[in-house]
Amino acid sequence: MNLASKIDRLRGQAVTAQVDPSGSRRRRFQSEPVPQLPGSAHTKELTDALQADWEDRGLLLCNRSYRLPADGRNAGDLSRLPEVCGLSKPDWVYIDTETTGLSGGTGNLAFMVGVARYRDGGQLELRQYVLGSFAAEQRMLQQLFDWVGPDAVLVSYNGKCFDLPLLTTRLRMHHIDIKPGSLRHLDLMYSVRRAYRDHWPDCRLQTAERRLLDIQRQDDLPGAEAPAAWQSWLRRGVTSQLARVLEHNCQDVVSLALLHRCLVPVYRGSVQTGLNHAAIGRAWREAGQPKLARRVWESAGERLDDKGSLQLAALYRHLGEWSRAEKLWLRLHARGNASAALALSKYYEHRRRDFCKALDFASQCPPAERQMRYSRLKEKMGGSLQLPLLVYG
């Protein structure tokens, strides 16, 4: 008896006889062998279907060029985002992969990688690498990162957690000594999430396309079907689905570039509603850009939430603009914000030296702070203070 029927027999009982009367659970794939070397009819079919060039031993390359709608911005402006501000002449490279699986681990690979960068004329040059066979992967990775170069700034959507770790794994699998993790990397998913998390149902790329870029994809192949498309090429030489994956990937990469442009004004405070100003301002603040933080926070006006307002007030205090800070604290205090009471108490005690007012606000501080401030103020006021009972109650 051969091994396969032995295994089938053993597995037949691992499932139960009645549940599966056919006895065999296996799906047999009647795969026609697909010739893998250039020159065959299949290869021709694939290059035709994808309108791609045959590079070498199963690697396909598809070149396109796009002129994006003009918006008067130059590439330098694009670095006005918290993660990348201050970069001089950044060499943006937009990147998106299509993979054989989403589960992670060494068994998945990217069978298609789309990358794009701006050319001198301002148009977007797009390259899509497609694997016609497993054997082409090593060549693809090498060509890809040669093209990307060591000084690129990658721009992706969820690339930090998905695309780049996967490519890093694949490079290791081929013993190629390139560490894409050391490249600078702007992951737009974080930028979008920061701004819109509380306002959108989800922050997928296609949601961002619809809401920010007004793109409605027509006849788009869902990303989840991409692995099957590549499999049906490998197993049966079917090219139609793979061509749709190519379009999908192309759209993803172009959308990245458009989204990038679109997020710059969002992050500069030019949009007043429907986004989380507080979080954007915080990101600027953490990036060491207080002026930009202030502009975003102020642009929100009354809509800025408590946390954002407190941070803006702290920024005013830092800049010595005390009256602005006071105004903001008083507004927050009127809304019952205890942290504002604390800030006001400190402000009246140390800045204005108005201990009565300081004491008044101190009584509304969070309990942990209250007692300490009280004792100190009492000392400063010469021990003549009668404490209201409720303070200790």
Binding site: A17, V19, G101, S103, G105, T106, G107, N108, A135
Partner: protein, 806 residues
């Protein structure tokens, strides 16, 4: 308590010896045997000259000025670059046999180490010990555990900065190997792989671990490293064989312990018979309690091992009632078991080490590795299930220069009874062989699948298995998970195969047992596929650590059983009709009376219902139905039959013959499990004829019944040919390699069963020998025990010549 041990004062008798003399005088009837292992002096060697100065300092700071001879031997093998396996008694300083070479390598920047322990708790212990040594010598070695509890943000640090990573096989299987690129740096610098508690890697788990090591070696080769493997094991009969089959390469043994040992005594204790007709003995619990009290009163430190968490609590309560009544004084009795908080357990361990506990009651949790200092008396409440575990537990008592006492208190189970009556089992080499079958087809297939995910296979590559690798790859190709391109086989689907493979079972899909008490959904146990239908049917009483739970519903496809704690005073026993058909006979022996053979069988099990059986009285108090599909299995078996003429002469009544075969099968099953160092559930038993025409089962009247293929009862006397056989089969799909060695030991199994039944103290048969017997039989003087003895006597007459293939 005197301030110094009396034994060290000349002229004073050894208190341990005194206790044992006292017990022997008072309980002569209970003590079946006494064994004495003589004291042994330490054999030292100097610290190796090439030992790193810092490491030398660390050892000296901890009071180690020289090495035991086995530690020195291990050191030499390590320096020679050999794989080795250390098998020395508990508390002989085994861990230094690998820690020393590993720390030396790390200190000198010569490479890192991966430690694998079967459980998480042991791994954490090990890291604690390493850290102590590290601190003592300021070695700067970074040792981390990597397991399911390691937080996500710490994992990267473990991978990139760890000098010693301590993990377990399940993590290696599911998290490390499938992500090996993240570990590239670690694997590139790996010099040692250490597998401690090797004896736990047997049976199904062992077959998986052997294949896991094949995968690991494949990944290591990819990163250009070929580390040394070090194994450590409790005493088993075949450590080298086991280590060699786990690794697939030669392994050198280190077996001569240089650690000193005080004199050790072992009493085998059988509780007195209180009902001779039913063969019922006083409970092991009451006896254990009594002995522990004697020991504690004598001022000795003792440890009591119980087989379940519940029993730990019960015994602790009894002993606390005796010794910890005064709440103002510090407690003297402690319980230790899984389920307690780690901090609580660490605290108890600490108290044990500093000697402030007089008596600790524990489950097997304290059996492995954990350092608890040394104690005087060890009491085993029931046979732990294997000789290795017995020695491991007994080894917990015994100071280096002072004698110790072990008492094994037998329960009423056949294994317990067999053990106390066969004290020779405890002498000489351990009779238990740890068996694995790395070639188990389904296990192998699972790991080839996982390996293909980790790295593509290339033509001409070998996985270290005997079966041709290419055929497995073709199988996976047909299944659609691989794609062949030229000479390579690539992973093709969006799946993470390691998640679907559990290292503890053969068939896919373990059942989870879920406790729904208080609206909760707590997973309390995992049951492998093959034993699920006979233990988890709705209505079944499922015992976890002796606590009864009732199965409320079974989700067959979802592989879940929902249970609730219950107070039922009965247990349930599935009525299983097992039908066997011999497919192929591999080998056989015969004589004028009997035939014994080994071969492949096809097995169908039907679950028709279950019996409710009251505890102690064993009376049948009800029935329930089971609605489950038939289970089919191809596996291997050993079977015994008696030539028809001989059988008729010895047992003219076919009914009696059936009862005799059923009783013999019961005894042989238990003895075989013992000899094979396997769980009783790893082996199955059946009585029937080899064509699957009929099979025998015990009916509600306690009498053997003959049933046909569809489960209908047959009248034995009206059947044509009558050739009953006892089958003992490997209870896993495809077998896990148990039946071939079982065939090799068939004579020992029969002899053991014969002794068990012969020497049982019951009159007509009891659960300790041939299985439960009905009270009505006793009244009428019908003795299934005699019948079983007749059958076993014939089996034991011994096959002498080859039984040629037909």
């Amino acid at each position: 308590m005197p301030a110094f041990p009396l034994s060290e004062v000349p002229g004073f008798p050894d208190p341990v010896e005194q206790l044992s003399r006292q017990l022997k005088a008072r309980y002569a009837g209970q003590i079946c045997a006494e064994l004495t292992l003589p004291a042994k002096a330490a054999q030292f060697e100097k610290l190796p000259g090439e030992l790193d100065q810092r490491l030398r300092g660390a050892l000296q700071a901890r009071g180690v000025e020289q090495l035991y001879s086995h530690q020195a031997e291990a050191w030499r093998l390590a320096q020679q670059g050999r794989h080795y396996v250390v098998v020395t008694p508990t508390a002989s300083g085994k861990t230094l046999c690998y820690n020393l070479p590993v720390l030396q390598s790390v200190c000198r920047g010569q490479g890192k180490a991966l430690y694998l322990f079967p459980t998480k708790a042991l791994a954490q212990d090990q890291v604690a010990e390493l850290l102590e040594l590290n601190k003592a010598g300021e070695l700067g070695v970074r040792a981390y555990t990597f397991d399911g509890d390691t937080p996500g943000d710490a994992r990267k640090a473990v991978r990139t900065r760890g000098d010693i990573v301590v993990s377990n096989p399940d993590m290696l299987h599911q998290a490390i190997l499938p992500h090996h690129t993240k570990w590239a740096q670690f694997f590139e610098g790996l010099r040692y792989v250490v597998l401690d508690e090797m004896h736990t890697y047997r049976g199904v788990f062992g077959a998986h671990v052997a294949n896991l090591i094949r995968r690991l070696k494949r990944i290591l080769a990819f990163y250009g490293s070929a580390p040394q493997f070090v194994f450590c094991s409790a005493t088993i009969a075949n450590p080298v064989e086991l280590a060699t089959s786990l690794l697939g390469e030669d392994v050198t043994p280190v077996t001569r312990s240089g650690a000193p040992q005080g004199e050790r005594r072992l009493l085998l204790w059988n509780p007195p018979v209180i009902n001779p007709d039913l063969g019922i003995r006083a409970s092991a619990r009451s006896q254990t309690n009594r002995i522990a009290r004697h020991a504690t009163r004598a001022g000795l430190k003792s440890i009591v091992f119980a087989r379940s968490r519940l029993m730990v609590e019960v015994l602790t309560k009894y002993l606390k009632d005796a010794f910890d009544k005064d709440r103002r004084r510090p407690p003297r009795v402690f319980a230790y078991r899984g389920g307690y908080l780690p901090s609580e357990r660490r605290e108890t361990e600490k108290r044990l080490r500093d000697g402030s506990i007089d008596c600790v009651v524990s489950t097997s949790a304290l059996e492995l590795g954990v350092d608890i200092g040394s104690l005087d008396v060890c009491i085993l409440n029931g046979y732990p299930g294997s000789i290795a575990a017995t020695w491991q537990r007994l080894g917990r008592a015994g100071r280096r220069n002072r004698s110790s006492l072990g008492v094994l208190v037998a329960g009423s189970e056949p294994l317990d009874q067999y053990i106390v009556r066969n004290p020779d089992f405890f002498l000489g080499a351990s009779p238990e062989h740890a068996r694995i079958d790395p070639e188990q087809l389904l296990v192998l297939l699972d790991h080839v699948r996982c390996a293909a995910f980790e790295l593509p296979f290339h033509a001409g590559e070998s996985f270290g298995c005997e079966a041709p690798l290419e055929q497995f790859l073709h199988y996976l190709l047909d299944e659609g998970v691989l794609h062949r391109e030229g000479d390579s086989w690539h992973w093709m689907t969006d799946a993470y195969p390691a998640n679907a493979v559990s290292l503890r079972s053969v068939a896919e899909g373990n059942f989870l047992v879920i406790d729904q008490e208080r609206g909760g959904r707590q997973i309390i146990a995992e049951v492998d596929f093959s034993s699920a239908p006979e233990t988890l049917y709705p209505g079944a009483i499922y015992m976890i650590q002796a606590a009864p739970y009732q199965v409320e519903s079974l989700d067959w496809d979802g592989r879940k059983a929902y249970v609730r704690p219950t107070r039922a005073d009965y247990y349930t026993d599935a009525v299983v009709y097992t039908r066997l058909k011999i497919l192929e006979r591999f080998a056989g022996l015969q004589s004028a009376q009997v035939k014994v053979a080994h071969g492949e069988v096809h097995l169908v099990r039907r679950f028709s219902g279950y019996k409710k059986i009251r505890y102690y009285s064993h009376e049948n108090i009800g029935y329930g139905n089971i609605n489950l599909p038939d289970q089919e299995m191809h596996t291997t078996a050993v079977w015994w039959e008696i030539r028809p003429g001989e059988l008729e002469r010895a047992l003219p009544s076919r009914q009696k013959a059936l009862d005799g075969f059923l009783g013999a099968a019961y005894a042989m099953h238990h003895v075989a499990a013992l000899q094979m160092m396997s769980e009783t559930s790893d082996l199955g038993r059946a009585v029937g004829d080899g064509d699957g025409r009929w099979f025998a089962t015990q009916g509600s009247n306690g009498r053997g019944q003959m049933r046909d293929v569809s489960g209908d009862e047959l009248a034995p006397d009206y059947q044509g040919a009558f050739r009953p056989a006892v089958f003992l089969y490997d209870n896993h799909p495809g077998g896990i390699g148990l039946s071939e060695p079982l065939y090799g030991r068939q004579a020992e199994v029969v002899r053991g069963a014969l002794e068990l039944v012969e020497h049982c103290d019951c009159r007509y048969g009891c659960p300790s020998c041939v299985g439960p017997v009905l009270a009505s039989d006793e009244e009428r003087g019908y003795s299934p025990r005699e019948l079983a003895l007749t059958v076993l006597g014939l089996f034991a007459s011994g096959p002498v010549s080859d039984w040629p293939q037909a």
